[in-house]
């Protein structure tokens, strides 16, 4: 005891050096552990979904539930295609995704014109574009349906695709990015006799790869997930998308959780894989687009 007290005066000399480092290391570990627990909680629905998708129908309703499937089965996935029309839904979803890439191209064209041309009404039209971002979907939902009905486009693929083909946010991001392309480059190409469309396709688009990557992935995700508009417009099952089909499955096979989990897994896993592959582009995309 006594020696302890005697030693005390010397200790503070060591403390400022050794302790803060150890303390900060402990803090790093603590924060890491908190995030790991939080991350696990966030991931539970996904883990449970995937594990349940491979269980048999009787195992899913078993109490107490099993964590890993006792009997690993692909039957649920086969049933999606045999008993439900998941192949049709998958085809429609892919068609919608492809069309949304056409929309992406139109967004890029508009963004390019707003960034690189001087023309009458440019400012006003750009404000008009931005203003459409503030209109809530619920207000336009019914009139858009009535307009499509007048155009005889209800229950058609065109009716599903057209209303969300272009978007103000996409145009805005393309404009922001493309205004950094030097004018001299475009002028040089024009002097060489390239047409305006060629300048756009062969010079502007290749230079905009980073923003196209971000927008392309987000467009794919949005197209793959499209739900509400196909639900409103499509009366025929032949036009249903995967998400509409999945909500139908939830209604028809309410008690068959294994089948439902298989349907969900089928929808979610491709997106998760694409996201993990390209996550750097998406997450950094927010910094590119200046959303600080």
């Amino acid at each position: 005891m006594k020696t302890n007290i005697m030693e005390r005066p010397t200790k503070p000399l060591h403390k400022p050096e050794a302790n803060p480092e150890r303390k900060s290391k402990a803090q790093q570990w603590l924060v890491g552990i908190i995030l790991a627990i939080g991350g696990l909680l966030v991931a539970i629905p996904f883990i449970w979904m995937i594990l349940s998708a491979f269980k048999t129908e009787s195992e899913v309703v078993q109490i107490p539930p099993t964590l890993f499937p006792n009997e690993f089965t692909m039957e649920n996935f086969q049933n999606l295609f045999k008993n439900m029309n998941f192949s049709v839904y998958l085809k429609n979803t892919i068609v919608i995704v492809l069309w949304s890439f056409v929309g992406l191209f139109l967004n890029a064209m508009a963004g390019y014109a707003f960034a690189k041309f001087e023309f009458r009404g440019r400012e006003k039209l750009f404000y008009l574009v931005l203003a459409t971002m503030m209109i809530p979907g619920q207000v336009t939902m019914i009139p858009v349906y009535l307009i499509l009905n007048e155009m005889n486009l209800t229950n058609t693929m065109a009716g599903i695709v057209l209303p969300s083909l272009v978007g103000a946010f996409g145009i805005f991001l393309f404009r922001q990015f493309m205004s950094t392309i030097p004018d001299e480059l475009l002028e040089a190409a024009r002097l060489d006799g390239a047409s305006e469309l060629r300048v756009f396709v062969q010079i502007v688009l290749p230079m905009s790869k980073p923003i196209i990557a971000v927008q392309g992935i987000l467009t794919f995700i949005a197209g793959w997930n499209s739900f509400l508009w196909p639900l409103i417009i499509a009366n025929d099952e032949s036009l249903y998308t995967l998400s509409v089909g999945l909500s139908l499955l939830k209604g028809q096979y309410g008690g068959n959780f294994a089948l439902q989990m298989a349907g969900s897994t089928f929808m979610v896993v491709p997106i998760i894989l694409i996201f993990i592959l390209f996550q750097k582009h998406i997450i950094d995309g927010y910094t590119i687009s200046g959303m600080k």
């Binding site: 966030v42 064209m109 019914i142 307009i147 509409v244 996201f275 996550q279």
Partner: protein, 296 residues
């Protein structure tokens, strides 16, 4: 000279498709919605325009008396009052923790927390309905393991709202966390070095440097999140379909149901305009509130 006239038309050629589509499907519908909100258009009127008649503000008068509409307003306010602070606190907290980490592993956490926000709402709803299932669900099973009573997640009117908020919170964290992270990385390191020299501890640095400098990001997130909750639709639509007893019906779901399930287009349009005006007013109030606080 020729190329000059050509380049005068070029920009219009480039913007035409996008602008035309936006006008047809975003701007024009606003006026259509306004007009039909003063009429009694329904399914019959859709086929034959002569059956539509002008009813003045009758729709508006009726909708503000509709008990389900009033209930949906209450529910939507419930979502906003609890949802907005929860989303901000959770996404900001996670962003701060991730930003605090020095190891590369912390970058992986961004992916984990972002993942729910890109997944399909129907798939997510199906999975959570299973998790929330009173007998077979994982949540009640875990509660029972801990010797806690089962919770009627989606069966009790209040609990159902809370359950939907939990699910929407889970999906909302990702994007907002990324916005906060981008803002955090924009704060110059020198501020913290100066504060450390002055002997400021971690808490002081957080409250005196980080949070004030994040004010713009917090403001942005709170506005977009609030607008999002005011339009809360897909989760109650797919999971509870507004039940039990309309206790989870949001204003957006009320509009959808009247428009597309009951085909009362005029009535639904009136409801949607009330929602639109409410969003504009609340956003303006927030902007005003923000302007008052920008003295430092």
């Amino acid at each position: 000279m020729k190329s000059y006239t050509a380049s005068k038309k070029t920009p219009y050629f480039f913007i035409a498709p996008a602008i035309l589509l936006l006008i047809l499907f975003s701007i024009f519908p606003i006026f259509v919605a306004l007009v039909i909100s003063f009429t009694d258009i329904d399914l019959a009127g859709l086929a034959d325009w002569t059956t539509i008649s002008f009813v003045g503000i009758e729709n508006y008068k009726e909708v503000v008396k509709d008990p389900i509409f009033l209930k949906s307003i209450f529910n939507t306010l419930f979502y906003v009052v609890f949802g907005v602070p929860l989303v901000i606190i959770c996404s900001l907290g996670i962003a701060l923790l991730i930003n605090f980490g020095k190891s590369r592993i912390f970058k992986a956490f961004r992916v984990v927390f972002y993942m729910p926000s890109i997944t399909n709402v129907v798939a997510v709803a199906v999975v959570w309905t299973y998790l929330y299932n009173p007998n077979l669900g994982l949540f009640n099973y875990i509660l029972n393991l801990l010797h806690l009573p089962s919770v009627p997640w989606l069966q009790d009117p209040v609990m159902a709202k809370v359950s939907l908020i939990a699910l929407a919170l889970w999906r909302a964290i990702g994007v907002n966390m990324i916005i906060f992270l981008a803002a955090l990385q924009g704060i110059p390191k020198t501020y913290y070095e100066a504060a450390q020299l002055d002997g400021a501890n971690g808490w002081k640095q957080l409250t005196k440097i980080t949070l004030p400098l994040l004010r713009y990001a917090i403001f942005f997130v709170s506005i977009t999140t609030m607008i999002g909750w005011l339009q809360f639709f897909e989760e109650p639509f797919v999971i509870t379909n507004g039940g039990p007893l309309d206790s989870t019906t949001s204003v957006a779901l009320f509009i959808y149901r009247n428009g597309f399930q009951l085909s009362n287009f005029g009535y639904a349009a009136a409801g949607s305009f009330i929602l639109f005006i409410a969003i504009i007013i609340i956003t303006m109030v927030q902007f005003k509130f923000q302007n008052k606080n920008t003295d430092y």
